[in-house]
Amino acid sequence: MPAIPLAKAPQPSQTDPAQIRNFCIIAHIDHGKSTLADRMLGITEVVEQRNMRAQYLDRMDIERERGITIKSQAVRLPWRSGIDGQEYILNMIDTPGHVDFTYEVSRSLAACEGAVLLVDCAQGIEAQTLANLYLAMENNLTIIPVLNKIDLPAAQPEKFAEELAKLIGCEPEDCLRVSGKTGMGVTELLDQIVAQIPAPVGDANAPTRALIFDSVYDTYRGVVTYVRVKDGHLSTRDQIQMFSTGVRHEMLEVGVISPEPVVSKGLGVGEVGYVITGVKDVRQSRVGDTITTYNNPTKVALAGYKDPRPMVFSGLFPIDGADFPLLREALDKLQLNDAALVYEPESSAALGFGFRCGFLGLLHMEIVRERLERESNLTLISTAPNVVYTVTTGDGTVLTVTNPSEYPEGKIEKVEEPIVRSTVLAPSEYIGTIMELCQERRGTLLGMDYLSEDRVEIRYTLPLAEIVFDFFDQLKSRTKGYASLDYEPIGEAEGDLVKVDILLQGEKVDAFSAIVHKDKAYAYGTMMTGKLRELIPRQQFEIPIQAAIGGRIIARESIRAIRKDVLAKCYGGDISRKRKLLEKQKEGKKRMKMVGRVEVPQEAFVAALTTDADIDKAKAKAKERE
């Protein structure tokens, strides 16, 4: 019987590193990672059959609904190898699957000695998986290639085994074939993890060094920090210290997740578990930092710690201005659990009071917005996302611009923008389409490789700003959903960029200003002025709508003055009706924003800031809920 009852399994803090295997699963959304994890929990019997539920490890509703993992977790699985009959402890470290969280992925990988590369054998490898695979290979992890969903009729295990073999440099027959759904091949996979992945190595007598690979805020416990002990030992008797800040904390609890928390005396070399220190904010317990003991601190931190750096900025405003304090509270709460989220108050003439927020990427932005709306019952409007620009003015002043409204007036010497190296994987029939899109978006081709006969990897450098602006939606729609995208920042480059302002009756509307490439300024200007002409109701005077770069008008529309706004009849029964209509209009008036003399309905702002892709997404979401 390969499963071992928990009580009889090797206990935390007393487990020989030789018995430990730390691994993660690298997979794309939908490729069945959560199902495989569920199956592993079942087969190792850490979760009883009757307590099992789908996607057991995904904690947040949003994770379960969207089928993606935002935060990683670690589960301790006792296992008796079917090969040598020995007892082992497998620590499965879950990794987030999205490009926005590359840094968190890299820290999860740093906590492991091996990785299961899980690929849906009906779909093949995706760009993000490939990126994470490369990351794992750079970390010298042992890769176990696994084809999942072999029970599917559309499965093409031969084809994709070849693809994987080519990528990692193994033989196609080395790829394991499993079905997370039926459980087929999972026992063999567990045995192979034991057989192939090296045991952790560390010095039990050296000063303690433990890597923080995740940090989660819990309402009742405060921050729960997930760690992997590299050297030394962590125990409840210790006072610990964060290497980056030097701040000392009491250790309130140490334990492992199996998959519910189990308190232990401590954690030894190679072990994975959690610590609770009473800290209330994840920023005090940052992913990538090194935990050491106060009494015997290490002098050398574990490598790779980075401060999370927001890449994409957007303004978030409550539709109802009265919700501003609620939004602040919601952001404060969210930040406890999201060290990458930054925000500061912002006031917009058009949208009122809100926050300028910085995100790791578009998905991060979407998730934050969705969580704010869902968990705090807010309705938000977000301005078009933008990247961080470095602007050098005529007099040599260098400014960091995260908001178009901070863009300096007057002479600009140069503007630099973030550049990413992007990888697109797609069926080869779409090469032309993809290259066309990348060219349109100011891309430079770096290279192209065939993964298999009909699948290709295309590499481009692109300005991040171009990706932020509906690139992914375009890529998906132009390739019928087949292409996948990954990107990583590689620095900054000078761009021919300008700020386009939108003016209503000569008044700048801050929410609509955008920093765009010179060649696209006109298109942006005509698009916005045209949209606003449709959205803003006619008023008693003519309203010119202009798009301008500095003082130069590049596009112009106008809303003609309204000529008729009266109901012809007003007799007996009409009177009450008309008065009530007036009272109703009073409510509508409250939702009007004034831009100079122009009354703009809130809905017009929302609609003008909504892209077609947003509308499609909203529709799809509504459909899902039906």
Partner: protein, 381 residues
């Protein structure tokens, strides 16, 4: 003097026009097989009982105006309509110079019918002419031959009606500016003293409303309708008809006194199914369906469906909303300082009459009338 005007509602039509959302019923809607005469006769009896009830409720003594509307009042026998006037006269004093109006369908009246109406006590008649252009009438579901209006108005004068009015509708789908000008010219060639001209309102719940929603009928844009208003105002004024309310023009002294009662906030009693009343800041209205109305009145119950008692603020809103539509406008002094200053832009833009403004009154100009509701919102919101 303690006065009470009477509105009498006749909720029957031979057929329903596509644009109409009035409280009126056709034989098929009432599920009756033959004509409406028997139904209408018994309806008159109910009206007379409601008038008795009005007398018990009101402290008024004098009735300055009576107006029969619908529906189609002329579907009733003239003597039946006369019975209603007599009933009012037996409970109140009908003023010597009282204005007693009925609406009439130019298609269904004969000279004899008009004479009988005159006999019954009516001295003012308002014909639903709508348009002089056949395809416009057709799109309104009106069937009459434009010729009938000439005859009907001439007969009305012949039998002794001193005040003859026509109702016009403009802004229907497919109506050109020329079509409308033809209607204006035709109306001005009639022996009349009063014109009401209404821009068509597409109401929810009507056949037209559904057609517009489904895209089967495309309404002309508001700018064209505005042009039509201006054209009508020019031509009516030139012919000696002066505007005295946004949609009403008359020869001097021929203004509808009954309608002025609505706009001046006087007291009036609306008798009949769905009719609205206003007494001293209280508005109430009867149950809508003739059968429900009949049941209540027969059981000696108040046929009132609902009422609202206006707050001082609501009364003020109504006053501004209604009186700004009149040629006399409102007093600038009745506005607060901030309300008045919010109107300056309309004075400057020529939507309020400059001289009147300087003399302390808020009076709409020609273009201002077209945006009257916006100006009201500017004051009140």
């Amino acid at each position: 003097m303690n006065t009470l005007a009477f509105y009498v509602h006749i909720p029957y039509c031979v057929r329903r026009c596509g644009y109409c959302d009035f409280n009126t019923y056709t034989p098929s809607e009432l599920a009756i097989s033959s004509d409406l005469s028997a139904t209408s006769r018994s309806y008159i009896d109910l009206l007379i009982r409601e008038i008795e009830f009005a007398c018990e409720t009101s402290t008024a003594t004098t009735v300055p105006t009576i107006f029969f509307g619908g529906g189609t009042p002329t579907l009733m026998e003239s003597e039946d309509l006369g019975r209603v006037i007599s009933a009012i006269g037996s409970h109140f004093d009908i003023a010597q110079n009282a204005e007693i109006t009925t609406e009439a369908n130019p298609d269904t009246v004969t000279k004899e019918k008009l004479a009988a109406l005159r006999e019954a006590g009516f001295n003012r008649i308002s014909f639903g002419m709508q348009s002089a252009v056949e395809h416009v009438l057709k799109s309104l579901d009106r069937t009459h031959n434009p010729e009938n209006v000439f005859k009907a108005t001439a007969w009305a004068r012949e039998v002794g009606f001193e005040e003859v009015s026509v109702d016009l509708i403009y802004g229907t789908a497919g109506e050109s500016i020329d079509d409308w000008e033809q209607t204006i010219d035709t109306a001005l060639s009639l022996p009349i003293s009063h014109i009401s001209a209404y821009a068509l309102i597409v109401e929810n719940g009507t056949k037209l409303g559904a057609q517009v929603k489904r895209g089967e009928v495309i309404m002309p844009d508001d700018d064209q309708t505005a042009d039509k208003y201006l054209l009508a105002d020019e031509k009516f004024s030139a012919a000696g008809f002066n505007w005295y309310e946004l949609s009403n023009w008359s020869k001097p002294g021929s203004e509808s006194r009954h309608n002025m009662a609505y706009w001046n906030g006087d007291n009036w009693w609306g008798a009949g199914a769905g009719a609205h009343s206003h007494i001293d800041g209280r508005r109430f209205w009867n149950v809508k369906h003739p059968a429900a109305y009949a049941q209540k009145v027969t059981e000696n119950k108040n046929p009132m469906h609902e009422q609202e008692i206006l707050t001082a603020q609501e009364q003020r809103s109504e006053e501004i909303m209604l009186q700004i539509r009149l040629v006399t406008g409102i007093a600038r002094a009745s506005l607060s300082e901030s309300e008045a200053s919010s109107l300056v832009e309309f004075v400057e833009a020529g939507h309020l009459q400059v001289e009147a403004w300087e003399a302390g009154r808020v009076i709409l100009s020609q273009t201002g009338r077209l945006i009257a509701d916006r100006i009201v919102r500017q004051i009140l919101l």
